[in-house]
Structure formats: structure tokens, C-alpha cells
């Protein structure tokens, strides 16, 4: 660790991992609820478990992004963080607000939570992924503004690099687009239209910039490839991401009541959306293949390569699978969407956060890389989680295809719940793949505590 203020990243990373564990516990519970419908009912009904599962994902990724920025920006700008104290204060604010929100979901009926938190003053709740109470949303904005102030001020006083500028652009975009979560018009078409400005323009827009910047940073560090070479790739990737992703929002506008031209715009631009992810795969492999010597942190290299491949498969290939309007007419909102969602989030964002944690954590703990034994354990975790995620995706895809056929294509279409019975076999298989994923996650946690001779940090 070159700058002492980088250490504020540590609690962010620890919180991210802790919330990741929570997300997977609720994922497993839901996996079981798919096949044993009254499991945990009425204590934790499916809709609540799902809300906790997805909200925890968003929150832990945000913790990961913020931790990554606090680690990466001082090194890129070659200066200490503007205010480490503000960063730590915001950590506790965000953690307490996040924990209180999750407890609110679990302990209080959702409607009561809405009443308690001022939803009658400004109604923002009740929408998928944006279920947070108004107070939490305001808290997120305050934390985001303080965070961006801290990062921007650090950048202003230090060196400006392409990586830090792209990262900052992504982070500002994240904050700006979140503001649309406060806009909740009565017209359902308008509501959905702008709802996607948060959801889509995050994950298929500005988050891709954050992801590319984080990946580029780690690749510079673990390969030693010249910054100029990596920056050129970064320019190409973010251009492709923005050109395809922004108008690609149209693939959510096919059936919500918007004009028909969105079927063309959405189909054409979102069909191109795999290209930036493809470029990221080529980028990751290209940089790793260029290195002259092995970096002592082999695990970080593996996570980085995994990010490239899995993001392309999940976001790119599985996204394309159902993105054309004539196909989406049949597949919309089926288990094919769930398959895509799982692999895309895992491949693009879970893996990139775990990549930077893998790279930064040993440095934050005063060593260049963890011991061989610890890294082997970490790499086992990578393979267990990644392979099980591939199977989760395949089983959900199979369930989705069967669902589409039985419910929407067949001459004698079956009702939704009857179809669910027909595809239960795949839900069981998905559940067991989820169990393997959680074993991988436990292995990942264990890797932090495996002892052995670590690579010492060489300081100039």
C-alpha cells in the first residue's frame, strides 16, 4: 500500500463480503421456496426474501465500488485521499442505513415500513430494486455526494489518469441516474420508462465504466503492461459501452406502452451490447498474455480473467439470447431473464469487485500477496463459485425455455402455476448448484484465514 489513506478501503471491502454472504443466504432460501413453497412462511415470504436478496446485492456492490475507489484513486492520483475521516464516517452511515433497511424489510410489513418512513410525503417505494424507503434513498444520496466530493477533491489535487477519470465519470453517472428513483409519476408507462434510467443505465451504462476502470487498474498492476497500451483499450471499451448501452435501454421499452420504434432501436442497439463485454474479454487475455513474469498474486490474475470471460457470457451472450424484440415477445420475464441476470451480475460486477479485493486485500494487510496455500484456497473458491454459476444459468435457461414453450408457444398454453410444477426439476437442480456456490463462498471466506508464508511487501 503506497498511501496510508488507502486503508479506508478495508472496512468497505469487509462490509461488502459480509453483505455478499447475506445475499447468498437469502438466495438459497428463495431457491428452496421455489420448490417448497411454504418454507419460512409466514416469517420470510418469497417477496421479502427476493427484495433482501437483490437489495443486498446492490448495496454490497456499492460498498465494493466505493472501497475500490478509495483504494485506487490515491494510487492513480499519487496523493493521499482528501479526507479519510469523511470516508470512514460515510462508511458507518451507509452500513447502519443499509442494515436498518434490511431489518425493516424483515421485521415490519412493507406497507407499515412505507408509512413509518415518509412514503406518503414522496412516494418512491414499491418498485423492483428501488424498494428502499425514502429515508434510505436520501441517505444513499448523501453518502454518494460525500463520497464523490471526497474522490473528486482528491483527483483535483493530484495526477489525472484515464483510469481515474473513467472511474469518476462512472461514479458520478451512478449518483446522477439514482436521482430518477425519486421520480415516481402516476402514469405507469412513464414510471417504467424512467425506472429503467436507474436500473438499466446503471448496469448497462455507467457501471460498465466503473468495471472497466477497476479491471484496467488491476491489469496494469499485475501485468506491468505500459499504461498507454491499457488506456487505449479503455477508451475503446467505454466508447463501445456507451454507444451500445445508452440507446440499448430500448430493449426494456418493447412492451411497456412506448412507441413501436423502440422495438427497432432496442433490438439493434442491444444486439450490439455484447461488443464492449467481448472487448473486455480480449483486453483481459491480451494484457495477461503480455506479461513477462508471473505476478505473485496469481489469484487476482485469475479473478481478472474470470471477469472478462463471465461478463461476456452472462451479460453479452445470455443478454443477446433474448434481446431481439421478436424473441423477447415470447421470453419476456421468464426464467431466461433470471438466467441472464444471475450470470451477468456475477460475471460483470461480483467478479470485478472480488478481483480488486483479491488484489488490494493482501496489500491492505501489509503483504504483496497471500501465501500459496491461501491463494490455492481462493482459486478453489473462484472455480466453485464460477462453475456453479454456469450451472445455475444453464438450469434456469432450461427452465425458461420449457416455461416459454408450455406457457406461451404451445397450442394449449398452461397457466403459470401449472408450468411452475412442470419445471420444478430444474429448480431443484438450480438449488443444488446454489449449494455448491455457497460452498465456494465459504471457501473464499476461509482463504482469508489460511496461514502460510506470504510474499513480503517491497517498499522503496
Amino acid at each position: 500500500m503506497k498511501y496510508s489513506s488507502q486503508s479506508v478501503a478495508l472496512p468497505y471491502f469487509i462490509a461488502a463480503i459480509g453483505l455478499f454472504v447475506g445475499q447468498i443466504i437469502f438466495g438459497l432460501a428463495m431457491g428452496l421456496q421455489y420448490v417448497v413453497g411454504d418454507f419460512l412462511f409466514p416469517e420470510i415470504p418469497f417477496n421479502v426474501a427476493r427484495m433482501v436478496h437483490t437489495n443486498l446485492l446492490i448495496v454490497w456492490l456499492l460498498f465494493g465500488f466505493m472501497g475500490a475507489a478509495y483504494f485506487l484513486i490515491p494510487e492513480e492520483t499519487e496523493t493521499e485521499l482528501y479526507s479519510p475521516k469523511l470516508a470512514l464516517l460515510m462508511f458507518w452511515v451507509f452500513l447502519i442505513a443499509g442494515a436498518a433497511t434490511i431489518l425493516g424489510y424483515l421485521l415490519v410489513p412493507y406497507s407499515t415500513l412505507a408509512e413509518m418512513t415518509g412514503n406518503n410525503i414522496l412516494a418512491t417505494m414499491g418498485r423492483e430494486f428501488l424498494e428502499q424507503p425514502l429515508l434510505t434513498k436520501i441517505g444513499i444520496v448523501i453518502v454518494a455526494l460525500a463520497f464523490l466530493f471526497n474522490i473528486s477533491m482528491t483527483m483535483l489535487k493530484g495526477r489525472k489518469t484515464v483510469i481515474s477519470i473513467v472511474l469518476l465519470l462512472g461514479l458520478w453517472g451512478l449518483a446522477v441516474f439514482f436521482l430518477f428513483s425519486f421520480y415516481n409519476p402516476g402514469n405507469l408507462v412513464k414510471d417504467k420508462f424512467y425506472w429503467w434510467w436507474v436500473v438499466h443505465l446503471w448496469v448497462e451504462g455507467v457501471w460498465e465504466l466503473i468495471m472497466a476502470a477497476m479491471l484496467a487498474f488491476v491489469l496494469i498492476k499485475v501485468t506491468g503492461v505500459d499504461r498507454e497500451v491499457i488506456e487505449k483499450w479503455l477508451y475503446v471499451i467505454i466508447t463501445l459501452a456507451l454507444v451500445t448501452g445508452l440507446i440499448g435501454t430500448g430493449h426494456h421499452y418493447f412492451w411497456i406502452g412506448t412507441p413501436q420504434y423502440w422495438q427497432w432501436w432496442g433490438s439493434i442497439f442491444s444486439a450490439l451490447e455484447p461488443i464492449p463485454f467481448f472487448a473486455m474479454t480480449v483486453f483481459a487475455f491480451n494484457m495477461v498474455n503480455r506479461r513477462r513474469r508471473e505476478h505473485p498474486n496469481k489469484a487476482a490474475v485469475l479473478w481478472a480473467l474470470g471477469t472478462g470471460v463471465m461478463a461476456f457470457l452472462g451479460a453479452g451472450v445470455w443478454g443477446f439470447l433474448h434481446t431481439l424484440a421478436p424473441v423477447n415477445f415470447y421470453t419476456h420475464g421468464s426464467q431466461i431473464t433470471a438466467a441472464h441476470g444471475h450470470m451477468a451480475f456475477y460475471g460483470a460486477y461480483v467478479l470485478v469487485v472480488l478481483t480488486i479485493i483479491s488484489y488490494a486485500m493482501p496489500l491492505l494487510r501489509g503483504r504483496a500477496a497471500n501465501s500459496e496455500r491461501s491463494q490455492v484456497c481462493e482459486m478453489w473458491a473462484f472455480w466453485l463459485m464460477t462453475i456453479s454459476m454456469v450451472f445455475i444459468t444453464l438450469f434456469l435457461t432450461a427452465a425458461g425455455i420449457l416455461q416459454v414453450w408450455l406457457q406461451r408457444v404451445s397450442d394449449t398454453p398452461m397457466p403459470f402455476m401449472q408450468v411452475q410444477d412442470q419445471i420444478a426439476l430444474f429448480y431443484w437442480m438450480r438449488l443444488w448448484a446454489g449449494v455448491v456456490f455457497s460452498i465456494g463462498l465459504v471457501t473464499y471466506l476461509v482463504s482469508f484465514f489460511v496461514k502460510g508464508e506470504s510474499k513480503p511487501l517491497i517498499t522503496a
Binding site: 497500451v229 474479454t281 480480449v282 451472450v317
Partner: protein
């Protein structure tokens, strides 16, 4: 050309443009312009099959062969799945779509490795379906 001559940490794309073009066309054929890209690839291979430097010739041979075998297996097995299972059978769609998507993605990932090898001035043999490298 020996690999040692290049500084891979600084050069953007040290590999021969013809080899990079071959691997790119292989990928374009799979992803954006199926058929058209393959025809251009075959034309390139036909034109340069004897005259190009060894590395570029290898990449041209590999990509043409991989396109033929890969395309054959992609389309052929899919057709067999539907012919055996029947178009009205949902299980044909389950197996057929998953096979097509997975095999197609696998070919792209092999292509990514091939493209990187070409860009870094290194030879590449596609696993199983690639012909032996020329010496």
C-alpha cells in the same frame, strides 16, 4: 518472427495484420456477419495460402478450418437435435437452444484466444478442430 524481438509491455499490436485479420474475421463470422466474413476469410486464405509468412499462414489455415468444422458442428448437431426430437417437442428446444448457445460461446472464446495469439505474434491451434501447425 521470434517473439523476443517485441516489447509486449509497450507495443500496441506487434502481430502481423494478416493473422489478426484472419482471427478477427473468424470472430466476425461468428458474431456479426455470418457468411460474409467467412467468404472474405476464405478469399484471404486463397490469396495468401502460399505467399504469406508462416505465422499468418498458420492463422489463416486455423481459422478457415475452425470455421468449417465449428460451423458444421454448430449447425449440424442443432439440425440433428431438432430432426430427432421434432420441432413440436419442447425438449428439442431445451437441448437445441442450450447446445447452440453454449457451443457458439465456446467457439467465440477460442477465437478470443486465437485473436490474442495473433495480436501478440504467436501461433495458435484451435483445440480438437484445428489442423496441425505448419513448421
Amino acid at each position: 518472427m521470434p517473439v523476443e524481438e517485441h516489447n509486449l509491455l509497450k507495443e500496441n499490436m506487434p502481430g502481423p495484420p494478416l493473422a489478426v485479420a484472419a482471427q478477427s474475421l473468424f470472430l466476425v463470422n461468428l458474431m456479426i456477419a455470418p457468411g460474409i466474413a467467412f467468404l472474405i476469410l476464405v478469399a484471404l486464405w486463397w490469396h495468401y495460402r502460399d505467399s504469406a509468412p508462416l505465422l499468418a499462414r498458420n492463422h489463416l489455415r486455423q481459422t478457415v478450418a475452425a470455421s468449417l468444422w465449428g460451423g458444421g458442428l454448430l449447425v449440424g448437431v442443432s439440425v440433428v437435435i431438432f430432426l430427432l426430437g421434432g420441432f413440436d417437442n419442447p425438449w428439442s428446444w431445451v437441448v437445441g437452444v442450450i447446445y447452440f448457445v453454449s457451443f457458439h460461446a465456446m467457439m467465440i472464446l477460442f477465437g478470443v484466444i486465437g485473436l490474442n495469439r495473433a495480436m501478440l505474434d504467436r501461433p495458435y491451434r484451435f483445440p480438437v478442430i484445428g489442423p496441425k501447425l505448419l513448421d
